[in-house]
Symmetry: C3
Subunit: 454 residues, 3 copies
Amino acid sequence: MSSNNCYDVTTWPVGNPSEDVGEVINSIIADIKARQTVTDVNNGGKPGAVIYIPPGDYHLRTQVVIDVSFLRIQGSGHGFTSSSIRFNVPEEEWVGLHELWPGGSRILVDIPLGEDGEESKGAAFYVARSGSPRISSIEFSNFCIDGLHFTPDGSGMPPENTYVNGKTGIYVADANDSFRVNGMGFVYLENALTVYKADALSIHDNFIAECGSCIELRGWGQASKITDNLVGAGPKGHSIYAENHGGLLITANNVFPRGASSVHLNGVTRSSITNNRLHSFYPGMVILANSSENLVATNHFLRDHEPWTPFLGVDNGLDDLNGLLRVSGSNNTVVANHFSQIIDSESIRPAGATPVIIRLKAGVANFVSNNHVVAMDVHSTSSDSCFEAQVDALLTTQAADSLAVTAVMVDSESARNTILDSGSDAQVIADRALNAFRATPTVGFQAAHAFVAQ
Amino acid sequence: MSSNNCYDVTTWPVGNPSEDVGEVINSIIADIKARQTVTDVNNGGKPGAVIYIPPGDYHLRTQVVIDVSFLRIQGSGHGFTSSSIRFNVPEEEWVGLHELWPGGSRILVDIPLGEDGEESKGAAFYVARSGSPRISSIEFSNFCIDGLHFTPDGSGMPPENTYVNGKTGIYVADANDSFRVNGMGFVYLENALTVYKADALSIHDNFIAECGSCIELRGWGQASKITDNLVGAGPKGHSIYAENHGGLLITANNVFPRGASSVHLNGVTRSSITNNRLHSFYPGMVILANSSENLVATNHFLRDHEPWTPFLGVDNGLDDLNGLLRVSGSNNTVVANHFSQIIDSESIRPAGATPVIIRLKAGVANFVSNNHVVAMDVHSTSSDSCFEAQVDALLTTQAADSLAVTAVMVDSESARNTILDSGSDAQVIADRALNAFRATPTVGFQAAHAFVAQ
Amino acid sequence: MSSNNCYDVTTWPVGNPSEDVGEVINSIIADIKARQTVTDVNNGGKPGAVIYIPPGDYHLRTQVVIDVSFLRIQGSGHGFTSSSIRFNVPEEEWVGLHELWPGGSRILVDIPLGEDGEESKGAAFYVARSGSPRISSIEFSNFCIDGLHFTPDGSGMPPENTYVNGKTGIYVADANDSFRVNGMGFVYLENALTVYKADALSIHDNFIAECGSCIELRGWGQASKITDNLVGAGPKGHSIYAENHGGLLITANNVFPRGASSVHLNGVTRSSITNNRLHSFYPGMVILANSSENLVATNHFLRDHEPWTPFLGVDNGLDDLNGLLRVSGSNNTVVANHFSQIIDSESIRPAGATPVIIRLKAGVANFVSNNHVVAMDVHSTSSDSCFEAQVDALLTTQAADSLAVTAVMVDSESARNTILDSGSDAQVIADRALNAFRATPTVGFQAAHAFVAQ
């Protein structure tokens, strides 16, 4: 029914895209597959298709199931706006707002959730195909997936602040190759993007915020990249998570609060977390769990306090001894990072403890060098305005007092590490008989040093 | 009048896009707003729209005023070509040129300038909306904004070389969220892109050159990114400027000459300038003014001489004691940068001075480590061909003499800094009693050091 | 024949795009040029056009010749799938495969090769224009160029594994400005993308794999960027190569095996290789040949063994003394890189040698600091499944033995280098009288050092 493999959800004769764009897209996919019958005659393939979603509101009440390669679904607008701010505006003021909802090419996820709690049932886009080859080159581009509302989680938190609703934006279940997610917007989903078994996946230049978890690479995978995204999860979720991946490149992302972690790697090897801007309200910003031979370099870590009234008192359950960066694993490289720890000493947990910045929990032979730790003791403030509160906090040029911190703590389960120029002698807790250590020189050091060297 | 929120300036019934695309787009925006009346019935929003500008020439004689969220304006070609080179070709040779002007989806800014000198009056695209929420998710994508001509500035410089014309490409006046500027071309504008009060702005993969100033983030803002752009301003302007921002990520940009600065931060905190390639003809390439806790890492700085005849003798007024990187602020991290200073010692100002590479002007507790300074004394040459002159200069493998420089100079207003492995003892001017210092080892150092260590 | 400079290959009246899209596109280009007659009346230019290639199979039997600026050729799908894996599946199993070929907007390169062996004759897209100005702002976006088959190379390797077929995807012959290659897929071409004389070129976010060579910047050029690509060449070719370039920024790429090199610079100055993830099966991953003042920083290097049965025994001819990074040139900066060398000591060549990680072959005054080398001795394993083998290899958390390596070897033709914290005293082979050296501290160092400093 399409002469050139270009489809538009608003002109497809089956279904009503405003009422259920899922039914429409599934019908289009069926058409694509029915038409793709030729194989290997004169090297002819199955080219897939592009499905266009113009700007507009599209309820999705039927899960889209993708099992054909080379499908591109694209819109004309990532359409993010903050639903979180809106839901925390008193309802009587909504009438004065210019708009209430995200926009662009917007999918409204109204899908019925699985009664059995099966996570994949709540996915707007579900990609699955077994057999060979792996499904390839699916592209999601420049549209908005909006989970609409969060739901009560039993904590007493107002429902729209729970980050819970059982909905997922895109869920890829089976092994896949050369997928792309570019220019998308995700908002108010419990899970934005969940991909199992990825090879050469590119997640680039997306806006993924106000979701429980944002990017999760599960199962295993290799040679992928998560680059140049704006990302921020909820207090119980992951902003960027990967497990059992090798050769993953996580770079040039700007990761906002308030995820439980900014980047969490579990069983990941020979991967890079470089050149990201990371901001969190809790300890445990970057976690390398059972992860080895990774490079963590030239990232900017900022940990400060939640300034927005609705989330005051929420945290990720970790105390300040956990470190902003926690490493369990071996042979990792942690170099040239900046850490700013800007907290109220009254809030430190356990009370009276010296907060830790880099903690080596377990493993051997990590290389920690040339990291700069800034720590200041500030009085917490908060505001009813999310944006203003954050800007104020970020811009405060601290005339504050310095805060004593442990720049690097090496646990007894970790040994043979090399720690250079990442803290003064007093700031590094490590068994000097088991780890190589060179303190960052302090004033007065130079004289003795120069004397010896000449 | 659009059934699916997709507009094309060439088919819209109001106005003539070739004569005044501004009138056309304003009429489209009025239509979008008139049609967006439904709010919050069944979670239905105001989705905005996409306005398409096909390849072609479109004079803009009426300022486009954008006050509706979720608007995407897109073309099919960034259309950059060098107008500067063309205007410096003798006019009698123009007849032999393949083309004279930029192209692609090209806006020719013919807007009348404000008589009162109000900068925003000269903007082709003016975005403004007060009230709540902040205007969100405006996207500019893949078209060209051409200011056409520069005008006399009273200096005697030929008019087309002044970088002055009172025109701005895009001017965002009010607080905004989640904007995107991607794949655009900007040329011959006094100001290319000026954004006030940005939150989560993405300026990505654009070509912004031959403009007085290129990217200016003014007012205040947070959590934005300027990534993967090709940028080059004029001698009086900024290539990349931000003020009162927090959490800004400036990475993977290739910044050409001849901006007065490459990156200038004013009152910016907890931000990153990492992984950029920066090239300038003047000192003062990166300026941190009243800016603290920022990370400046793994950038490549090249400062050499203007090689193109029309701009010989032009500079930014700074002498060579200013440094290529100048820091006023505290707790910044400057690590793992490469600096090449390739200049003619005859040109040094003040005459006979030792040029400075990194200058810490004021503040405390900056961390400067592992920076590598290369400095060579070359004879200046110039050429009538802009491109060839630059390539020649860049490719000259210097058999030149070394040039003595001060790798790091710490002023008396700056103290408690840590300076490691960023210059030899002779190359670092800092009060050793007030700053921690470790000289980059030189040949012969090793013996003594090893002796002590064993 | 187009009223708005938008063309679609499937609706153009000349030629049959399925049979020969080259004829169609050339006819469109002729139309564009015929229609672009107006110049400089009222600042009116020659805007170029956009040519759309919908998803589908398009044989290309006539070379496309581009000699007009501001042309954008775009598709709706990069369409990569692994042809290499498919061709190494037993043919009797092909019937069970979901699909056999790449897809998306797919160009099938069926071009007759030049009998004279002239490389440019085998290019699907050939860009050439002499005179002034340089051809500008050509954009290739989001389509697939598929070379279909490799051919016998006389080595006895099965034809589809040779990476040889005389075909090139895009070949730019003449000086050019502000080109863009974004979102493309290239597969099974002997050369994917070859660009001579580039200025301000952007190669961004492409998928270029299973090609003999992927990205080659030849001749000379400046101020370009190769960013955020997924790239992997064949054993005789280059993944990323540049010659005589200045100011090139190579960042955020994920470079897979099995290129002879990952990044090879020849006569390149003042450029950056930063923040890439590089993986190779051979030594000689990054080569700086006659290249000076470059920055190589925060890259992750992994060299391990070919795990996939069809390519066992293939290599690039370099032995393990060549280093993973080899530098001939002066004043380069090599900082904050991670190197993992994970090989079977039985395979080391010359047998019994100590493998080298960083080798400074010739030149002076390179700065090598804060690099971390991990080396382990593993038993090689292989698999018939390309993907699984690689994932397994990447994820193996090595309980393996350490492997002795030379972290840095400085040849006698290289001198006055500075080598800091990049290997222990025993791991660095350098004439201490000619090079400045500080060993990475080892356990026990601290005591003596601290003693002196206090």
